[in-house]
């Protein structure tokens, strides 16, 4: 029989970013059902718009219309363009850190986790901070609502339209990129439609575009208003009609449910369970929260074979660590650097298919890095590991202060290599959970909160390498050691 504690921690890891230091007590004294209801309640409110954009940029982009009206469209010189690019990049960094801090601190864990899933599902890269903010807002607002609304809103967002070359999709020169990805990645999945379906759907999406302010624009004169045949249906379809046709296909419910199951339950799909979930998801009109209810209130979700079976993604690892050990980082950029080194930088998915997850997170270097992080944080060490160049972030220039890609590699890129992490861990919140635990049971108690799988190593290894000079020191050092094991990579 698994304890409520382990089940609740399972729920916190999957429906959120892991248990928090100040809730460990609650996790022992509540049932998973009660905990889930509390999570739901906390996630009920509409989230606030995250706005980090620089005032200068706001003036420039949002005021674009006024400038146009005055008839003197401002010509920007090279210096200004460079400054704008830097401000855009800084904006995306700040948005990254702000959202990551929400994942750590927000009570709306379920909503943020769901949004994190959609962030990988509707993957896009854009250097425009406003487009990024808008898309993030769409997925956070609709994270638990209707997948129908979510799909429509995302498909009309500037970030996605821009990323998938929608503006190049014109009546006379259709560009199929957008139509292809909508079918392959957003709705039905590969192998459930033909190339002709894509071509015809692309015609329906002609004229879809967005302006510089991020508003959806329908360019009537570039739209092909003839009849199209998509998935066996013929009509003078518009883009919205195609999305609705795709939603009518049950395959869309199956595809989304499979992906959600893999992300929230287990990388290995249980066909029967997915079928049952997908049927209900379809019948419930694509209501996301109801699907999540079906998952998180099912007995099988708490089966041993689903617990501790997932390799934490880098974001889950970093957020989870901070939830368990509340900390203040002087050098917040080190969080960006760690994201890059571990292979998951928010807002920079590897491609339009998002992060593949699972075993792909782990190779020799990333695993060793993961296991060194707790120590680095504890000792306030330097992160002397250098991430790869990403020209989509840095544009190859060498003259900006934090992307001197070639001249001074120490300063290259996102987050500064060679700067101490400077974390100030608030140990008290954490250690007080263990006040009443007898010394001989301490290790077991720590492990029970930190690990979701049975430890393979012998406890002596932790005991021998921990600081035994006192209770507090033991708790701290043993915690750091436990977090440096392969087992801690799992949730």
């Amino acid at each position: 029989m698994l304890s409520n504690q382990i089940k609740n921690q399972h729920l916190m890891w999957r429906a959120g970013f892991g248990p928090a230091a100040d809730q460990l007590d609650q996790l022992k004294n509540t049932t998973p059902n009660q905990l889930y209801q509390a999570l739901q309640k906390e996630s009920g409110k509409k989230p606030a718009y995250m706005d980090v954009a620089d005032n200068y940029l706001k003036g420039l982009y949002m005021g674009a219309e006024e400038i146009g009206r005055q008839g003197k469209k401002k010509e920007l010189d090279a210096e200004e363009r460079k400054m704008i690019r830097n401000k855009q990049r800084d904006g995306i960094k700040n948005l990254n850190l702000l959202w990551l801090s929400q994942m750590v601190e927000s009570k709306a864990q379920l909503r943020e986790k769901m949004a994190f899933f959609w962030h990988g599902h509707f993957a896009s890269r854009n250097i425009n901070i406003f487009f990024q903010q808008q898309l993030l807002d769409i997925i956070r607002v609709n994270a638990l609502g209707s997948f129908k609304d979510l799909l429509h809103d995302v498909s009309k967002s500037a970030a996605i339209l821009n990323f998938l070359n929608a503006s190049q999709n014109k009546k006379d020169h259709p560009n199929e990129n957008f139509a292809r990805e909508v079918m392959e990645l957003f709705t039905m999945g590969r192998g459930n439609y033909t190339e002709t379906d894509i071509k015809e759907a692309a015609r329906a999406f002609t004229g879809w575009s967005a302006n510089i302010k991020g508003e959806f624009i329908f360019r009537r004169f570039q739209h092909d208003d003839g009849a199209k045949t998509v998935l066996g249906n013929t009509g003078k379809f518009e883009g919205e009609d195609i999305l609705n046709l795709l939603l009518e296909e049950k395959q869309t419910a199956i595809f989304i449910t499979q992906k959600i199951y893999k992300f929230f339950v287990n990388e290995t799909i249980d066909k029967q369970k997915v079928e049952w979930l997908a049927n209900r998801f379809y019948k419930n009109d694509y209501h996301i929260e109801k699907l999540m209810d079906d998952i998180f209130t099912a007995d099988w979700f708490y089966d041993e074979k689903n617990i501790g079976m997932k390799i934490k993604s880098p974001i889950e690892l970093l957020a989870g660590m901070q939830r368990m050990l509340p900390m203040k980082l002087d050098n917040e950029e080190s969080l960006l650097l760690m994201q890059r080194i571990l292979g998951q930088l928010l807002f920079y998915p590897p491609n339009v298919a998002g992060w593949p997850g699972g075993k792909t997170w782990i190779d020799s270097s990333s695993l060793m890095m993961r296991m060194r992080i707790p120590q680095l944080i504890n000792d306030n060490d330097e992160l002397n590991v250098r991430p790869k160049i990403d020209d989509d972030q840095m544009g190859g220039r060498t003259d900006d202060e934090d992307m001197t890609a070639n001249v001074d590699k120490k300063k290259r890129g996102y987050g500064k290599v060679g700067k101490p992490i400077n974390a100030d861990v608030n140990w008290e919140v954490y250690t007080k959970n263990f006040e009443s635990v007898p010394r001989e049971n301490l290790l077991a108690a720590l492990q029970s909160h930190l690990l979701q799988v049975k430890a393979n190593y012998k406890g002596d290894i932790i005991k021998n390498s921990a600081d035994n000079s006192g209770r507090e020191n033991f708790i701290k050092s043993a915690t750091i050691q436990i977090m440096s094991t392969p087992e801690y990579q799992l949730c």
């Binding site: 090279a78 890269r125 292809r180 990388e267 501790g308 079976m309 997932k310 390799i311 080194i341 292979g343 920079y348 590897p350 491609n351 339009v352 298919a353 593949p356 075993k359 792909t360 782990i362 190779d363 020799s364 270097s365 990333s366 695993l367 060793m368 296991m371 060194r372 590991v385 250098r386 991430p387 790869k388 160049i389 990403d390 020209d391 989509d392 840095m394 544009g395 190859g396 220039r397 060498t398 890609a405 070639n406 590699k409 799988v453 393979n456 190593y457 012998k458 290894i461 390498s465 050691q481 440096s484 094991t485 392969p486 087992e487 990579q489 799992l490």
Partner: protein, 399 residues
């Protein structure tokens, strides 16, 4: 072959140490020593999209000079190699290699439906997928999968870097990234990790936790192996004190040690020259030229140049016309260098780019890079290219 006593002891002690790693690991046996003639490939990635037209310059082409009034490299500045082509002035070592028959230049390499975003195009080069496919494994990773089925030795492909590229990630086996053998050895030699790693005795590796332990213990034993090999025959060659110089020095020492590594991977960048291209490309080329020059010299001195093939690639070339900031924007097809004492075909291997026949200002590709991969895999590494690339590609003749 004659095994030196020191090497024999090395292999012996590693075999003993292997009893301490988990059961499912077939640790290093005598196989670790590879016979001379062992072919090795070194891949030099020019990150950011190197401008191929200013690398191999079409010195007789008026269209080139018209499209690049300020960026074009004049004929008398370029290092002349043929009547119609010259190399970038910084590439003196490459010209020497051209002269002694150890340089091959392949023009117009690319792929259908080119993508102009860095990460996507690099993805395509790393995975060797078609441009509308998204694969999660790299071509060298799949080489490891095919080559290393059950052998659990990620040392067959090494990347000299802190982070492992997608190119070296297979489904079951992944290459290993290291900046320098000593540092890797140091990190992985922490007592805590050693002890933890010894603890796991899973007989199956179906559970994620087994996979983690397996990766960990492979890393630790590889770190030992690489470090020890790197000290067997450290090169005495002089290398420039640059990143690339250090990396190639590490590689040559490993090549001489007869480690079982077949593939080395190293990157240089950023070649994303939207602004003031001249300076940036020249600086990077100087680093490349000096390091590669030292590497070639070193390999020749040690009689290994015939067994080593170094090739360069970039995720894309750049537009034919320069932009308004004395730079160039993202383009499509590009050239590749092949350097080896063992080339079957040398010099300029195919036609120079046709600047009169462009696709909206960009070069049209004539050779798919996957043909290059399949040639290297089959003809140089003796691997099953079709299985690795998922499709049959015609071979080229340079090796």
């Amino acid at each position: 072959m004659v095994i030196k006593r020191r090497e024999f002891l090395q292999v012996g002690s590693l075999a003993t140490a292997s009893f301490m790693v988990p059961k499912f690991l077939k640790a290093f046996e005598g196989k670790a020593l590879v016979p001379p003639g062992n072919k090795v490939v070194v891949i030099l990635q020019l990150s950011g999209g190197n401008d191929g037209l200013n690398t191999v310059i079409p010195v007789r082409n008026d269209i080139y000079y018209k499209a690049r009034p300020r960026l074009g490299i004049l004929r008398d500045k370029a290092l002349s190699i043929t009547d119609e082509a010259g190399l970038h002035p910084a590439l003196t070592s490459f010209r020497e290699a051209f002269d002694d028959g150890s340089l091959g230049i392949l023009n117009n390499v690319g792929y259908p439906n080119p993508d102009r975003s860095h990460f996507r195009s690099m993805d395509i080069w790393h995975t060797a997928s078609q441009s509308n496919d998204y694969w999660n494994t790299g071509w060298l990773g799949r080489y490891l999968d095919a080559q290393c089925n059950g052998c659990d030795k990620p040392t067959q492909a090494l990347e000299i870097d802190d982070v492992l590229s997608l190119a070296l990630k297979g489904e079951n086996v992944k290459g290993l990234a290291l900046k320098d053998p000593q540092r890797l050895y140091g990190t992985s030699n922490e007592k805590f990790f050693r002890e933890i790693s010894k603890q796991h005795t899973a007989s199956r590796e179906e559970q994620p936790v087994d996979y983690l332990y397996k990766t960990m213990s492979e890393t630790l034993s590889s770190a030992d192996y690489i470090f020890k090999q790197s000290r067997l025959h450290p090169t005495t060659g002089e290398y420039p004190k640059t990143d690339l110089g250090n990396s190639l020095k590490t590689i040559s020492s490993l090549v001489y040690s007869e480690i079982n590594t077949k593939v080395y991977y190293v990157s240089l960048g950023s070649f994303d020259t939207h602004i003031n291209q001249g300076q940036q490309q020249e600086r990077l080329f100087k680093e490349m030229n000096d390091a590669v020059g030292a590497f070639v010299k070193d390999l020749k001195k040690n009689n290994r140049f015939n067994d080593v093939l170094l090739f360069t690639f970039s995720e894309f070339g750049r537009r034919v016309s320069q932009n308004a900031s004395n730079g160039t924007d993202h383009g499509t097809a590009n050239n590749m260098f092949f350097l080896s004492g063992g080339l079957k075909q040398k010099g300029i291997l195919n036609n120079m780019p046709d600047l009169a026949d462009l696709d909206e200002g960009d070069l049209k590709y004539k050779i798919d890079f996957k043909n290059v991969y399949s040639t290297v895999l089959k003809n140089w590494l003796g691997a099953d290219d079709q299985k690795i690339l998922g499709k049959k590609y015609d071979k080229l003749n340079f090796v």
